[in-house]
């Protein structure tokens, strides 16, 4: 089993050295901000680099075979100055898996307005392949967000005006909504807009494929992304949520992972997992369960079973 923490630390050291080589004198704070790590991690790494080197001719790690830094400037002023370096000049190549992950990520995001320049993205992927130490393994993710809604949302933010659209909820009712866009989130093929909803006076989440007729308004935006702290999880629980016990075949259990609340108990009964899911209303539940026919069944409460049964029966009746 690989020691991933030590691997991460090594990758960091191999990345930090060329950065320091390129910067004659740089503060710990600046390096920490650039790499997005705590300052203590930079100081630890610099102390290690400062005493590291190669065995050299004498095999004794003599002074000239070691990295050196200006220790006074480091200890007194929190500034890093490399005064001697060995072995490393440039940044390391990407591993095949690293390059594959980035290339697949770019493919997945190719519907974003930022990716409009196709030729530029293709050349970026080619550079990643060439900058890898082995041929990137074949990992491919289809782009899924395809219509122009994302571009309009971005325009709304860049011009500072609200976006208005028709939104049909899982219950089926359609409403006109006016929103200050805050963030685009996605999970595989499902894309969401989180924004300040002027109708509800709160942060709401909208599925992009339930949005229709989006238009840019003339009303200025009230909130921008930096003004609002968004909860980390997209699917937040609320006290009004309904808890439903279900049986699910083990291979389909990952499909329900987002609905299973923290601390839910899962038991195995006759080859099925019995667990609890959380839903905000039975309209969402009946759609979910009808899309998992033969894979999942509601155990209780009875009203939830009835909601699913009626939905499916009404659907089946259309074929008679």
């Amino acid at each position: 089993m690989a020691d991933h923490r030590a691997q991460d630390k090594l990758a960091f050291l191999l990345s930090l050295v060329p950065y320091l080589v390129d910067h004659d004198r740089v503060s710990v704070a600046e390096v920490a901000a650039h790499f997005g790590v705590p300052q203590s991690q930079i100081r630890d790494a610099v102390r290690l680099i400062g005493v590291s080197g190669i065995p050299g001719e004498t095999a004794q790690y003599q002074h000239g075979d070691l990295f050196d830094i200006n220790w006074d400037d480091f200890e007194l002023n929190d500034q890093i100055v490399l005064t001697n370096r060995v072995a490393i000049d440039d940044s390391p190549r990407f591993s095949a898996r690293e390059a594959a992950a980035l290339i697949a990520g770019l493919q997945y995001l190719s519907a974003l307005p930022e990716h409009a320049d196709r030729a530029a993205v293709a050349s970026l992927m080619a550079k990643l392949s060439r900058g890898a130490s082995a041929v990137p393994s074949s990992l491919t993710v289809e782009a899924t967000a395809t219509d122009g809604t994302l571009a309009l949302i971005r325009e709304s933010v860049s011009t500072g005006v609200q976006i208005e659209f028709c939104y049909r909820s899982a219950q089926g009712e359609a409403q006109s909504r006016r929103v200050d866009p805050l963030r685009i989130e996605s999970f595989d093929a499902d894309w969401y807009l989180r924004g300040w909803d002027h109708l509800r006076q709160g942060v709401r989440t909208f599925r992009l494929d339930r949005i229709s007729e989006p238009v840019i308004t003339t009303e200025p935006i009230t909130f921008r992304a930096q003004d609002v702290t968004l909860p980390e999880t997209l699917f937040e629980g609320s006290p009004e949520d309904l808890l439903v016990t279900i049986d699910v075949v083990p291979s389909a259990a990952p499909l329900l992972a987002d609905y299973i609340p923290a601390g839910a108990v899962t038991t195995e009964i006759g080859g099925l997992f019995r667990t609890t899911i959380r839903v905000s209303h039975y309209h969402g539940l009946k759609r979910l369960l009808a899309s998992m026919s033969g894979m999942a069944t509601v155990v209780e409460p009875a009203e939830a079973r009835t909601a699913v049964a009626e939905w499916a029966a009404a659907g089946a009746a259309r074929y008679r």
Binding site: E98, V141, L289
Partner: protein, 331 residues
């Protein structure tokens, strides 16, 4: 200096870092004994006990850990003494280690790569994407802040994903139990993996099925046993194999068209209308493309009475039987 019995504790990362530095600096490579006796982190143990099996195992693990980071740690046989393991030399050729000098990334490109790395925050590629970003930052480029916040996620919740990426990289044949829709029992498949593809939000393994003697797609969700990685290595597939698989999926998708009547002003009407490639015919029915009849039937069944499949008959039957089964299971 006295050879103290109490060897100083050298942190793992210091030993790994020292090994990389030593191998990068050595033109002709170092033998294992050179390394164990002189490199920081090994020499402290060597001084006390010499070459021990434990120290040799440590070196083997360290080599694997270093190679996993994309560091090209090479083994060279002595030309006058091939096959003698004691004379193997190890080195890291600088040209294969360093990012080629003509590769640089603009602030816009760095922004795109930051976003691309973000999608793997959960799951087995999170370490890779984090380390790729470190290497990117070492180039010192400052990314443009995107105008709008993004939080994209690709999920890899299928247990088969992790072993399959490993097998794909090492080009090893895998074996797993696969449940084909319509069959009641999982059947063992022996497959040379060609690519992992996420299509319509689901992970597929595209591979060469040795028993069927042809390429097949396997939905990871239908792999019901742990993936067993064999020792059998296969020749690399051509670089076009993945593109061919994608083109095949795309061709299937455009060939398979369903005619569906949707109730106006419903969730189904909004969402199906927005699917890629959807066309409305004169009668107001939707023409929808799909690749897998079972997966598409699951999706359409979720819409309940909002959707009526007109054709093809196999899709119509699949949706109808799903709805009937759900109604019965909850009756």
């Amino acid at each position: 200096m006295t050879a103290a019995r109490a060897t100083p504790r050298i942190p793992v990362e210091e030993r790994l870092f020292s090994l990389v530095l030593a191998l990068l600096a050595s033109e002709n490579g170092l033998t294992k004994v050179d390394i164990l006796s002189t490199v920081q982190g090994y020499r402290q143990r060597y001084l006390v006990d010499g070459v021990t099996p434990g120290l040799e195992r440590q070196f083997e693990r360290d080599k694997d850990d270093i190679r996993e980071l994309g560091v090209p740690l090479e083994t060279i046989e002595a030309p006058d003494d091939p096959g003698n393991n004691q004379n193997l030399r190890y080195r890291i050729p600088r040209g294969d280690y360093e990012l080629p000098a003509d590769i640089s990334f603009s602030p816009e490109e760095t922004t795109l790569l930051n976003l691309a790395a973000m999608v793997w925050r959960e799951g087995s590629l999170s370490g890779e994407s984090r380390r790729a970003l470190m290497k990117l930052r070492s180039l010192g480029v400052i990314a443009d802040e995107p105008m709008l916040g993004y939080a994209p996620h690709i999920r890899v919740r299928d247990a088969a994903f992790e072993p399959l990426t490993g097998a794909l990289e090492k080009r090893l044949v895998v074996r797993f139990g696969y449940l084909k829709p319509g069959e009641t029992h999982a059947r063992t498949r022996t497959v040379a993996p060609i690519a992992l593809i996420q299509h319509q939000g689901r992970w597929l393994l595209h591979g060469f099925d040795q028993d069927a003697d042809g390429t097949r797609n396997f939905l990871l969700r239908r792999i019901l046993t742990p993936v067993q990685i064999t020792k059998q290595q296969f020749e690399p597939f051509s670089a076009d194999a993945t593109d061919a698989a994608l083109a095949d999926l795309e061709r299937l998708w455009s060939e398979r068209t369903a005619v569906v009547a949707v109730e106006p002003a419903t969730d189904a009407a909004t969402r199906l209308h927005k699917r890629r490639g959807t066309v409305t015919d004169e009668a107001g029915r939707l023409l929808l493309h799909y690749t897998d009849v079972n997966l598409f039937a699951d999706e359409l069944a979720g819409f309940g009475p909002e959707v009526l499949v007109v054709s093809p008959p196999e899709l119509r039957d699949a949706v109808r039987s799903r709805l009937e089964r759900t109604a019965t299971d909850h009756g």
